[in-house]
Symmetry: D2
Subunit: 156 residues, 4 copies
């Protein structure tokens, strides 16, 4: 999960790397699916490494869907689809920060899902670790994010 | 908007007062509608002052609906209903903090809605004011919240 | 519940009368809320008789909302909001027939809600009475619809 | 799309065959995903032929998900997820009839999607062909359903 139009250069770079690493684990990538920012980059990364990609699309058609999404789920329910994103994921990696991403992290914690957070936004780390320290892991790189996922999955 | 089971005593006190003040303005109160915490208290406050109350219910029936809700909208869509809460509101007052409340504030900012925030949770103030300073107002009391609403409505 | 743009003259006439009769019973009218066809007419009928009206809106704002809707619930979830329409209603009156209306009747029967049907579309009567004869009542006029509602509510 | 617990023996037989034929075309199967009736059978058919299967799940976890679903999208939105089922499909094949299936056909026609109908329920054929003859094709066997899909896809 991560920002669309407001993603930073670092967010995009990390998202590309995350997509590649997720595909290398043979995990299925699920994202918000739009052709912008972190969503587009993580799907492109996963496809470059031969992964399978699923996009949960907020609109009623595929006009804004990333070309790197294999399976697009058309919800036509705007930001309410953010709850489907997190419920359908075994683990959530949040890369970058913004209103949509913050809503997904909060919805994930509400559903008792584990969230791995890569961002330099300090208040978001403080807020979400304060709300549910057990389900938030803060990491500094895509590689550390994947290693953290592996540990969480092993313990489940 | 505000926490259910995890609401603090201050959250409850403020919610009761907010409900009373909202009804005194002849505004319709819209909330998440459950019979817990801030949701229950704000509805009770509004009814005590003769207001009209609408609850957007996450479950498939009224078993967990506050008795002080006049009109219950049954969504059966869990936390995805949080997006309906904010889209249907002219203004959002967030009282207290938790995973559900944080998701509602984030969804409200995503939809470019004004949010008035009453909480002593400093990271949440820093995060949301950082994401969209134009749409976040931080206040210290229910009375200040209502005065802030009136100013925003006047300028719209 | 009933068609928008494809409503017939009879559908519109009946919807106006239904709105008036629903308000006369002091019932709250809940509809799909758009400013077309049966939705617009039933809300206008209810307001003409001093009723309270709630609209469950499929889009993200009130641009297409009937002016006779008092409380608009903004879902931004397109036709998925049809399920909220039926779950939030104590009883459903379906006036006229079309794709949207048929989906609402079917969703109502799925949720074990009572549906009163006014239409001259014979296959729809045969289909829905065949699926769940216990929850379908077929009537010939708005007055008969309201009398049927009263009997069902008395027995609940 | 098709009934769960109320599916007939013929519905189940046809669903198994449809799943096998869909996989043989290298199409992705999307269904309501529950472990009952047509949903379970069509997924099992597809997996027996090496297909890829996606389930749009109405509940908040996988307790009722068919074991033959590869990718489960957890919506937690009950029957409102029926609209996602049809919007996400290039074509809809409805096998059997019931309240849920009727709602999906109606929502599909509302969204101008093509629906291929296999059922001996005559009123449903009359109703839906009457609502939108251009988007309804009535067939008598799984093989004819697949041939009809191929013709529609070729003309799109």
């Amino acid at each position: 999960m991560g920002p669309g139009a407001l993603a930073t250069q670092t967010d995009i770079k990390y998202a590309l790397e995350l997509g590649t690493l997720i595909a290398a684990q043979d995990w299925i990538l699920l994202s918000g699916g739009r052709k912008e920012g972190v969503m587009d980059a993580v799907n492109k990364g996963a496809k470059s490494a031969g992964g399978l990609t699923v996009g949960i699309i907020p609109t009623s058609n595929n006009e804004d869907t990333s070309e790197a999404v294999d399976i697009s789920i058309i919800t036509d329910m705007g930001s309410a689809r953010n709850n489907i994103n997190v419920l359908s994921s075994d683990l959530i990696i949040a890369c970058g920060m913004g209103a949509g991403t913050a809503s997904e992290i909060a919805l994930a914690l509400k559903a008792k899902k584990h969230v791995i957070l890569i961002t330099d936004n300090q208040p978001s780390k403080d807020l979400f670790a304060g709300i549910d320290p057990k389900h938030i892991k803060i990491v500094d790189s895509p590689k550390e994010a994947i290693e953290t996922c592996k540990i969480i999955l092993k313990n489940q």
